[in-house]
C-alpha cells in the first residue's frame, strides 16, 4: 500500500503535544506533493479529548484505545503498532525525538528491518514519497543527509520546532477505531509512578523560548531573576553543565552535550561563556541572544544578538522592558 504518511501522536492529560501538530503539519505539506493521506496514530486510554484536538490536522486518525496503553510503555505500544505497521506498510512513519519516539522507534525499525533516522532537523519528500532527512552528528559539528532503502515505512524521529504548526490545514479527520488485543503477561515493564516536575514550565526541549544562565549567575539563589524573565516570556529555564555540576539546578534543565539539545525559537544565554559542550546543544535554535561580561566570550560566535554587560543589570531591566512592551499590546 505504502500510500500513507503516519505520525505517532503524543498527548498528556488529554492534550495533544506541540510536536505532534508540527509533524502533522509537515506531513500535510508532504502530502501535497505525494498525494498521500496523513494519518495520526493515537494510542492510549480514554482518548476523546485528544481525538478532538487532532481532527483538523489529519485525513485519518487510527485510534488504539486500551487500558494497557496508558501510561506509555514500549512493550505495549510496540505490541499494538507492529501488526498495524505490517498490515498497512505506510510510506513514512514520523515521531517526535522525545522520550517516547526515541524509545520506541529503534525497536520497531529493528523488528521491521526498515530504515530509521533519529533526531532529524530537516525533512523533505519527492513526488514518489521518498524521504530525505538531515540530522546532526557529533553533537551538531556535522550534519548527515540521509535517504532510505525500498523498505517501508521510512521512519524518523524529529526534533521539536523542525516544522511550523499550520492551524488551518482544512482537514477533518475520519476516525477509525482499531481493535487491539494485548496480552497483559507480555507487558513486562510497569510504570509504577510518574513524578511530575514542580512548576508550570514545559520541558526545555519543547519550549518555544528558553532563557538560561551559566556560572555567571554566581549562585542558585540568583536564578530568581531568570525565572522572572521567563515568566514574562512564558519561557522555560535552562542552564549549563557547570551549574548542574555545582548542584545549583536540576539535571533536567541542562543544555548541551551531556544534557539536552534544544531547538527553541528564541534562546537567551546570560553569563554563559559558550563552552563547546554547551553550544553543541543550541545549534538548531532559531534566534540566539547572548549577554556576558567578557567581550571575548565564545558564546558571541554563536549568537545573533550580543550585549557585553552584567546580567545582574541587564536581566531585571529586560524583564521590565518586556513587561511594558507586551502589556501595551494587551
Amino acid at each position: 500500500m505504502a500510500n500513507e504518511i503516519w505520525v505517532l501522536a503524543e498527548h498528556q492529560d488529554g492534550k495533544v503535544k506541540g510536536i505532534t501538530f508540527e509533524l502533522l503539519s509537515g506531513g500535510v505539506e508532504f502530502s501535497k506533493k505525494t498525494g498521500q493521506k496523513v494519518v495520526a496514530l493515537l494510542l492510549g486510554s480514554g482518548l476523546e479529548e485528544a481525538t478532538k484536538g487532532l481532527l483538523p490536522f489529519a485525513d485519518k486518525i487510527y485510534l488504539l484505545d486500551h487500558p494497557l496503553l496508558s501510561p506509555y510503555t514500549s512493550d505495549a505500544y510496540e505490541s499494538a503498532l507492529l501488526p498495524l505497521l505490517k498490515e498497512h506498510q505506510p510510506s513514512i512513519f514520523l515521531g517526535g525525538a522525545t522520550s517516547i519516539g526515541k524509545d520506541l522507534f529503534p525497536r520497531l525499525a529493528m523488528r521491521l528491518e526498515t530504515g530509521y533516522a533519529p533526531d532529524c532537523t530537516e525533512l523533505s519528500v519527492d513526488e514518489e514519497g521518498r524521504l530525505t532527512v538531515k540530522r546532526p552528528l557529533f553533537g551538531g559539528k556535522v550534519f548527515a543527509e540521509m535517504v532510505f532503502s525500498e523498505a517501508r515505512p521510512q521512519m524518523a524521529t524529529v526534533r521539536n520546532h523542525t516544522f511550523l504548526i499550520h492551524e488551518n490545514l482544512g482537514k477533518s479527520a475520519e476516525v477509525l477505531s482499531i481493535p487491539i488485543q494485548l496480552d497483559p503477561s507480555s507487558m513486562k515493564k510497569k510504570v509504577i509512578q510518574v513524578e511530575k516536575s514542580s512548576g508550570e514550565r514545559v520541558d526545555i526541549t519543547e519550549a518555544d523560548i528558553v532563557v538560561a544562565a551559566g556560572r555567571g549567575i554566581k549562585g542558585p539563589e540568583h536564578f530568581k531573576i531568570i525565572e522572572e524573565l521567563a515568566n514574562v516570556l512564558n519561557a522555560s529555564v535552562g542552564t549549563t553543565r557547570a551549574v548542574v555540576d555545582e548542584g545549583w539546578r536540576d539535571l533536567k534543565d541542562q543544555i548541551g552535550k551531556s544534557g539536552k539539545n534544544i531547538s527553541a525559537r528564541l534562546y537567551m544565554a546570560f553569563g554563559i561563556s559558550g563552552a563547546i559542550h554547551h553550544v553543541l546543544g543550541i545549534g538548531t535554535c532559531k534566534t540566539i541572544v547572548a549577554v556576558d561580561t567578557d567581550p571575548n566570550a565564545l558564546i558571541f560566535n554563536y549568537a545573533d544578538y550580543g550585549i557585553v554587560g552584567d546580567l545582574f543589570q541587564i536581566v531585571p531591566a529586560l524583564t521590565e522592558e518586556l513587561k511594558k512592551v507586551l502589556a501595551s499590546e494587551g
Partner: protein, 260 residues
C-alpha cells in the same frame, strides 16, 4: 549477577570533525570512552560489589579497544571485542545484530549501555539489541535498584517534565543517562594493568553471521553526504550604553527577528 556492558571509544567533544569528501569525515585523533558508557560501567560495578558476579565489557568496534581497557581499569572482569573487517561501515542496527548473535546463547541478568554514543548520537544500538534478544529495555535511566530475589529492577527514567518510576523483570537492558552515578576514576596501577589485560577477540564467522547482514549492504537509512552545520549570520553586537541597549534588544527581537 552476570552483567554485560556495551562500550565504545568515541571522539572527544573537543575533537575537530571535518568533512573530507561528501561521504567521508576527518576526525581529530582525540578519543575518549563514551561518557554515558562510563556511567553504565559504574552502575554494573556497583551491582557486582553488592551482589557478586561478573562484569564483562563488550565492544563491536573493530578499531579501538581503549573503552574496553577503561572498563577493565575501573574494575570489569572481562573484555570482549567483536572485530571483523566486514563490520566497517555498519549502521547501529547491524551492530545490534552482531551483539545479539554473541549474547543470544549466553546467560546474563542485565545488559547496560550508554544512553547514546557521542559520535552519531543515534541512541539505537542498545534498544535495537533488546529487540533482537526479545528483552525488555528502559531507556535513559537515572535510578537503578535491583531486587535479586525477585529478579526485578526498579528504575527511574527521565522523561519530558518529570520522571517515570518503573519495575522491570530481569534479564533486561537499560541505557544509562547522566545523573545515575558518578563514574569512578581508576587507580593508575589499574590503568597500567588494564593496558596488558587480555582482550578476547571474536570475528563474524565465529558468531555465525553472514557478512551481508552487516556493513553497507545492510543499511536501510544511509548517509548520502555530510554537510556543515547551517551557517549562522554574524552576531549583531548592541553597543549602546545601559539601559538603551536593553530597549534596542527588545526592539530587534520584535521587529528584526520577530520572535516575541
Amino acid at each position: 549477577m552476570e552483567i554485560f556492558v556495551l562500550v565504545k571509544q568515541v571522539p572527544d567533544p573537543e575533537a575537530t570533525v571535518k568533512i573530507k569528501t561528501d561521504t567521508e569525515l576527518e576526525i581529530e585523533n582525540k578519543y575518549f570512552t563514551n561518557f554515558f558508557d562510563e556511567i553504565a560501567i559504574e552502575a554494573a560495578l556497583r551491582l557486582k560489589e553488592k551482589f557478586g558476579g561478573k562484569v564483562t565489557v563488550l565492544t563491536a568496534d573493530p578499531k579501538r579497544v581503549d573503552a574496553l581497557r577503561r572498563g577493565i581499569s575501573m574494575g570489569a572482569d572481562e573484555a570482549i571485542q567483536i572485530s571483523d573487517p566486514a563490520l566497517e561501515g555498519s549502521d547501529p542496527f547491524a551492530i545490534a545484530r552482531v551483539l545479539a548473535a554473541y549474547l543470544k546463547d549466553r546467560s546474563f541478568d542485565l545488559i547496560l549501555a550508554g544512553r547514546q554514543a557521542m559520535d552519531d548520537d543515534s541512541g539505537i544500538v542498545g534498544i535495537a539489541l533488546a529487540e533482537a534478544l526479545n528483552l525488555p529495555h528502559v531507556h535513559s535511566i537515572i535510578g537503578l535498584e535491583v531486587d535479586i530475589s525477585r529478579k526485578e529492577a526498579k528504575v527511574i527514567r527521565e522523561v519530558e517534565n518529570g520522571k517515570e518510576h518503573l519495575t522491570c523483570p530481569l534479564p533486561a537492558l537499560f541505557t544509562c543517562q547522566k545523573g545515575l552515578n558518578t563514574p569512578r576514576i581508576p587507580l593508575v596501577m589499574n590503568v597500567m594493568k588494564a593496558m596488558k589485560a587480555q582482550i578476547k577477540k571474536l570475528d563474524l564467522v565465529s558468531l555465525g553471521i553472514e557478512p551481508s547482514k552487516v556493513g553497507s549492504p545492510s543499511i536501510q537509512a544511509k548517509v548520502i553526504r555530510y554537510l556543515s552545520p547551517p551557517k549562522r549570520p554574524p552576531v549583531k553586537m548592541i553597543k549602546e550604553e545601559f539601559p538603551d541597549n536593553v530597549r534596542t534588544l527588545v526592539r530587534l527581537l520584535r521587529e528584526d527577528a520577530k520572535v516575541i
